[in-house]
Symmetry: C2
Amino acid sequence: MTRFMDVHHGMQGITADQLREGALAVEKEEGVHVEHAWADPESGTLYCLTEGPSAEAVQRAHERGGGSKPDEIHAVPLAM
Amino acid sequence: MTRFMDVHHGMQGITADQLREGALAVEKEEGVHVEHAWADPESGTLYCLTEGPSAEAVQRAHERGGGSKPDEIHAVPLAM
């Protein structure tokens, strides 16, 4: 399993409930685990930290979960 | 204190030691606490999760710490 950070734009006005529901929907799919998510309702930026088998699996998990699709996904093998 | 996510580009080849040293340098400045940082040495993308008094303080902490300057800083009041 690899850790990924994905970034979504255009999420202006997102609420805490929507962030949690979106993360839970992604969590069910493709063997992807959502570790954390953070959002800025003002700029509409959302960051999602996951573990999953591949970037493609993280992308598909977002599509199948019915939530917003990431604009970027990067493996983040280094962490502190 | 507010939580911020900042993003750095152009960090290709960054090592785990460099990530840790950069975070420690920022940590000393401007009342900013670095909670976590993640990096992708391949694409050169670095994400840094901090708490601090303002986005400007986070920016100055990176400048004074002598590390790479963020390309973006967003407050992330929502988290899960």
